[in-house]
C-alpha cells in the first residue's frame, strides 16, 4: 500500500455516522419547510399544497409588528456590536502587547462562555432597577442586551482578518505621506471591510434568532419574531409558525451564504 496515512473517512462506519448526523440535522428542517406549504391545519398529515399559511402570517398584525421589532433590534444591535468589535479588534491586535490584554480578550468573549440563562436573569434584574429609576420602557434595553451578546460574534471574524493583515502596509502608507487617519481610512479599513461585513452579518443573524435573553428582558408588547412564535407554540401548533420559521430560515441562509463568501480565503 502506497498511502498509509490516517484518514477519518476510512474508518469503518464513518459513512453511516455521517449520514445519520445529516439526517438528524436536516430532516426536521425539511419537514418544517414542507408543512409550511400544507393546505390543511395539521403539521403531521399532508393534505395538499397551498401558500395560505404564508398569506395568514403576512396578514397577521402581531407577526408584522414582531418582524419589524426583530429587524429594528437586529439592525441596531449588530451596528453597535460591529462598531465596538472593530474598535476592540484594532485595540487588541494593532499595537504591542499591553498589560490586561488577555483580560480584555476574555471580557469581550464572555457572552460566549457564560450560560445564556444566567446573563438573561442578571439582565432582567439589572434592567428592572434601571427601569424603576429612569421610567424608560422602550426597545433600548433589548437593543443593549443584543448588542452585548452579539459583540463577540462580530469580533471574531474582524480580529481574524486583522491578524492576517500585513502590518507593513500601514507603514508603507505612512511612508507615502498618509496621515494616521488617512492610512486607516485608505488602507486598513478597505482591507478590513470583508471582516467587518462578515462580523455584522453574523451579529445580525445571532440577534435575529435570540429567544432566551429576549424573553427575559422584553417588556409587555415587545415580542420579537422568535418570542412571538414561542408564545404561539404554547397554545397550538399551527403551520403559520412553520411559514414564519421558513421565512426566517431563508433570510438566515442568505446572510450566512454571504458571510462565507466574504470570509472565503482569496489568494
Amino acid at each position: 500500500m502506497a498511502d498509509r496515512s490516517f484518514e477519518v473517512a476510512r474508518l469503518p462506519g464513518f459513512a453511516t455516522i455521517a449520514i445519520t448526523a445529516f439526517v438528524i440535522l436536516y430532516l426536521p428542517i425539511i419537514t418544517l419547510v414542507a408543512f409550511s406549504f400544507n393546505a390543511g391545519k395539521s403539521v403531521a398529515v399532508w393534505e395538499g399544497f397551498s401558500l395560505h399559511w404564508y398569506a395568514d402570517a403576512w396578514a397577521n398584525d402581531d407577526v408584522k409588528s414582531a418582524t419589524v421589532r426583530s429587524l429594528i433590534i437586529a439592525v441596531s444591535a449588530s451596528a453597535i456590536a460591529t462598531t465596538v468589535a472593530t474598535m476592540a479588534a484594532l485595540g487588541t491586535t494593532r499595537r504591542r502587547q499591553f498589560k490586561g490584554q488577555t483580560f480584555i480578550y476574555v471580557a469581550i468573549n464572555q457572552p460566549l462562555m457564560v450560560p445564556e440563562i444566567v446573563t438573561a436573569v442578571a439582565l432582567l434584574i439589572f434592567f428592572g432597577i434601571v427601569k424603576t429609576w429612569t421610567g424608560y420602557q422602550g426597545l433600548g434595553y433589548l437593543i443593549a442586551a443584543h448588542a452585548a451578546f452579539c459583540t463577540p460574534f462580530a469580533y471574531l471574524p474582524i480580529r481574524a482578518r486583522l491578524e492576517g493583515m500585513d502590518l507593513s502596509l500601514e507603514t508603507a502608507a505612512a511612508d507615502l505621506y498618509a496621515t494616521p487617519w488617512q492610512a486607516f481610512r485608505r488602507v486598513t479599513l478597505p482591507l478590513l471591510a470583508p471582516g467587518i461585513m462578515a462580523g455584522a452579518m453574523l451579529a445580525f443573524v445571532i440577534s435575529l434568532d435570540d429567544v432566551v435573553i429576549t424573553e427575559f428582558v422584553k417588556s409587555g408588547g415587545q415580542d420579537t419574531l422568535p418570542t412571538y412564535m414561542l408564545g404561539q407554540m404554547r397554545r397550538a401548533i399551527s403551520p403559520e409558525v412553520n411559514a414564519i420559521s421558513t421565512g426566517l430560515l431563508a433570510l438566515t441562509v442568505i446572510l450566512l451564504t454571504a458571510f462565507f463568501l466574504l470570509t472565503r480565503k482569496k489568494d
Partner: protein
C-alpha cells in the same frame, strides 16, 4: 554640486529594549550621504542596516543623535512628513488597489491635483515599463513586476531620497542581474539620491558610487567600491569584501616582518604587532631563485575556469592564496614545487584590526 550632503547621520545610537537586555542595533553611527549618489549600506545580516533605513524613513526614533536632511534636523518628524520614500523588502503593495492606484497613492496623499496624479502615474508606468499592466491588481503580477511597481510607487512623489531595503534579495539570479542594471538606470534618469541596503558584496561593488560597510551596529568604513576593495581599513572589511590573505607580523623600517622572516613592503605603517592584508590577485608567483622574492611551496591548486587559485605555504607554514589567470603556468606549478612570491607594489595593506 555633487558634494552637497543630503542625509547627514550624526552620532546615532539606536537601542532596543532596556537595561541589561538592551540591544544596540546602531552604535554611534555618523555618515554623510551626498546629493544624487547611489549609496550602499553593506554588511552581514543583523548588523543594523534595516534599522538605519527605518530611522532615516522615520519609522523609528533614534535613542541618541540626529538625522539631518538638507541641513535640517528631521529626527522628530513622522514618516509622512519626510520627503523620503522606501522600497520595502516585502514590497508592501496595497492589495486592494490596482498598479496605477498604487503608484498614484503617494501623490494623492500629498494632495496633488488629479490631473497631475494621472500624468505622473503614466510617466512612472512608462519609466518601469509597466504601461500594459496599469489596471491589474498587484496580486496578479510576477515577483519582478511587483518589484517595479514598488519602485515606481516610491519614485512617483519625487522624494529627495529613496531607501531600498534589500530589494533584490527575493529575485532569482537572472532577474536580479537585470534589476541591478534597471536600478542604476532609474537612479541616473531620476537623479534621486538612492540609499541601497544589501548583504551581497558583489552587488554593492558593481552598483554603488559609495559604500558604507557595517558590522555589529558600527560603521566600519565608507568609500568608493575601489577604495573599500583596495584599501580596507580593518580585518572585517578586508574579509567581508572579496578574498584576502592575512599575514600577521611586526612593523620594521620600510615594511612589516611577517612570520616567515620575510619583510613585506607596505605603503602605510603603524608601530607594533600588525596584520598585513593582500588580495590573492596581487600575489605573483615567480621563480624560487628570484632575488627578493618570499620563498614558498605550492600545496594545492583549485581550478575556477578563468582563474586558478594556488594555495601556498611560507617557510613558517603561513598559508597564502594566489589567483592567476588559468592556462599560463599550471604545468610547471604543481603541488610540491618551491617558488617565490612577489606582492604587487602598494597592494599590501596594514590593517587597524
Amino acid at each position: 554640486m555633487t558634494t552637497q550632503v543630503t542625509i547627514a547621520v550624526r552620532n546615532v545610537v539606536k537601542a532596543f529594549g532596556a537595561g541589561d537586555a538592551a540591544v544596540r542595533a546602531l552604535d554611534d553611527v555618523s555618515l554623510d550621504i551626498r546629493k544624487g549618489e547611489f549609496f550602499t549600506l553593506l554588511g552581514p545580516s543583523g548588523c543594523g542596516k534595516t534599522t538605519l533605513l527605518r530611522l532615516i524613513a522615520g519609522f523609528e526614533m533614534p535613542t541618541e543623535g540626529q538625522i539631518l536632511l538638507d541641513g535640517t534636523d528631521i529626527s522628530a518628524l513622522p514618516p509622512n512628513k519626510r520627503p523620503v520614500n522606501t522600497v520595502f523588502q516585502s514590497y508592501a503593495l496595497f492589495p486592494h488597489l490596482t498598479v496605477a492606484q498604487n503608484i498614484g497613492f503617494g501623490l494623492q496623499m500629498q494632495g496633488r491635483p488629479a490631473a497631475e496624479v494621472d500624468a505622473t502615474t503614466k510617466r512612472m508606468l512608462a519609466l518601469v515599463k509597466l504601461d500594459a499592466l496599469a489596471t491589474r491588481k498587484t496580486s496578479q503580477l510576477s515577483g519582478g513586476q511587483q518589484q517595479r511597481v514598488a519602485l515606481a510607487r516610491a519614485l512617483a512623489p519625487q522624494p529627495k531620497v529613496l531607501l531600498l531595503d534589500e530589494p533584490l534579495s527575493a529575485l532569482d539570479l537572472k532577474l536580479r542581474k537585470e534589476m541591478q542594471i534597471e536600478l542604476k538606470r532609474l537612479q541616473t534618469e531620476t537623479g534621486i539620491t538612492f540609499v541601497f541596503v544589501t548583504h551581497d558584496q558583489e552587488e554593492a561593488l558593481t552598483m554603488s558610487d559609495r559604500i558604507g560597510v557595517m558590522s555589529h551596529g558600527k560603521l566600519q568604513q565608507t568609500g568608493t567600491p575601489r577604495e573599500i576593495y583596495t584599501t580596507p581599513v580593518n580585518r572585517f572589511v578586508a574579509s567581508f569584501i572579496g578574498e584576502t590573505n592575512f599575514l600577521p607580523g611586526t612593523t620594521v623600517p620600510g615594511g612589516v616582518r611577517i612570520g616567515s622572516g620575510a619583510v613585506v613592503e607596505t605603503a602605510t605603517s603603524r608601530p607594533g604587532d600588525v596584520t598585513v592584508a593582500i588580495r590573492p590577485e596581487q600575489v605573483r608567483i615567480v621563480a624560487a631563485s628570484d632575488p627578493g622574492a618570499i620563498p614558498a611551496t605550492i600545496t594545492n591548486l583549485v581550478y575556477f575556469g578563468t582563474d586558478t587559485h594556488f594555495h601556498l605555504a611560507l617557510a613558517d607554514g603561513t598559508e597564502v592564496v594566489s589567483r592567476l589567470q588559468s592556462g599560463t603556468d599550471e604545468a610547471r606549478l604543481t603541488p610540491g614545487t618551491a617558488v617565490g612570491l612577489r606582492f604587487a607594489p602598494g597592494a599590501a595593506q596594514v590593517l587597524e584590526d
